[in-house]
Symmetry: C2
Subunit: 224 residues, 2 copies
């Protein structure tokens, strides 16, 4: 991939594990953590898509709180305000996947500037990245806040072009979320899909250019 | 509701039962019908939302076919082209909920003009409505085809205003889909949510003006 001049990563599910919240959910609602986390994540995404369609942007963190409220009510779990805050704060403490620090370092050593493009706010992104000691690895931390639209809206992907001053074809977009990878591919990025769960790609008229099972495969893909 | 001058219905899930397809799915994939139908419907909606966000409208029927393909692959079910066509055609034969004919008749007898506003194409909508012998009950059959965007995009709801020449506050919008009801409410319609499944409303910053368990409750709600 000689034409690639920089790499743009999705954050939630790609660099950081959204299901890091399972443990805390289990503490509040014993043995329901996994179930809560799965539905919570699904609703969080749905609400980001629906709010954008309704022309009513809200910060991703508010969509996350709304999604948790829906999830707990749907599962018949009483959730008070303190518990809701506690669980939502857990999204500020999610952890990177184990291979992430070494992979980012390897790419930087080879001279490839890196960025994150996330639905999350600058505050959330900075919190989790700093906590993981990874701030220095990124040239740009880009949030949809700037355009007040969520992925996969086309205008979101333009933010990476602007940040780097590079064209879409020079930016490799890396995501574990097949719908996000589809949006980026449709926009014009070469795309690497991180298929962590061994599932099928979404049927949105796109195919990823590359598929890897974890980010470990990325350095050799870029410089193989 | 003296100010209501006309009623706009959602089609899929509100007037017609999308899970009418379970039987045919069961024939092709024995005992998997319910599971297929649920995931198929979920993906169909996701793809309509995601395609709109990507700025890449496709007919709802194509999103339906894509969603079926994803669903079967995800569930490990081999689906050939003939089976795919067969199952998708089943969406042209879905049936109205049992109370629908009498309710529509009752509203018309009381002088309220009725419309359908659907994500589906004019062709799909006309097929199922005619098959059910209900074409005469509707003043307007409105499809998102005209704006090439899916619900809950704001421009979709404008179509009802234009069809009737009435303002949004004079049109009661009726939907079983809480995200659709939320979109219509945000747009400015008074909204009646048909909560057929006893589930919770979506957390999208809106509340329905009225909640009924089936459409049977609608005539008395309007003229109670």
């Amino acid at each position: 991939m000689a034409d690639i001049k920089a790499v743009v990563f999705d954050l939630y599910g790609t660099l950081f594990d959204v299901h890091s919240v399972v443990g805390r959910c289990d503490t509040v609602f014993p043995s329901r953590g996994r179930e809560i986390s799965l539905m919570w994540r699904q609703k969080q995404l749905e609400y980001s898509w629906l709010r954008t369609l309704m022309g009513q942007y809200i910060p991703f963190e508010d969509a996350t709180a709304d999604a948790l409220r829906y999830t707990c009510r749907h599962l018949g779990l009483g959730l008070d305000d303190a518990q809701a805050r506690d669980l939502c704060d857990e999204y500020l403490r999610i952890r990177p996947f184990p291979e992430v620090p070494a992979v980012l370092r390897a790419l930087n050593e080879r001279g490839l500037p890196l960025a994150i493009l996330t639905n999350g706010s600058v505050h959330s992104m900075t919190s989790v990245v700093q906590q993981a000691g990874l701030r220095g690895e990124f040239a740009h931390l880009i949030s949809v806040e700037k355009v007040r639209l969520f992925k996969p809206h086309t205008q979101v992907y333009e933010l990476s072009e602007r940040a780097f001053g590079l064209s879409r074809s020079e930016l490799l977009f890396v995501s574990s979320n097949a719908w996000d990878a589809s949006g980026a591919r449709h926009f014009g990025h070469p795309v690497c899909w991180v298929n962590r769960s061994g599932s099928g790609f979404e049927e949105l008229g796109q195919r990823p250019d590359h598929i890897i099972e974890s980010l470990e495969g990325l350095p050799s893909l870029l410089h193989g």
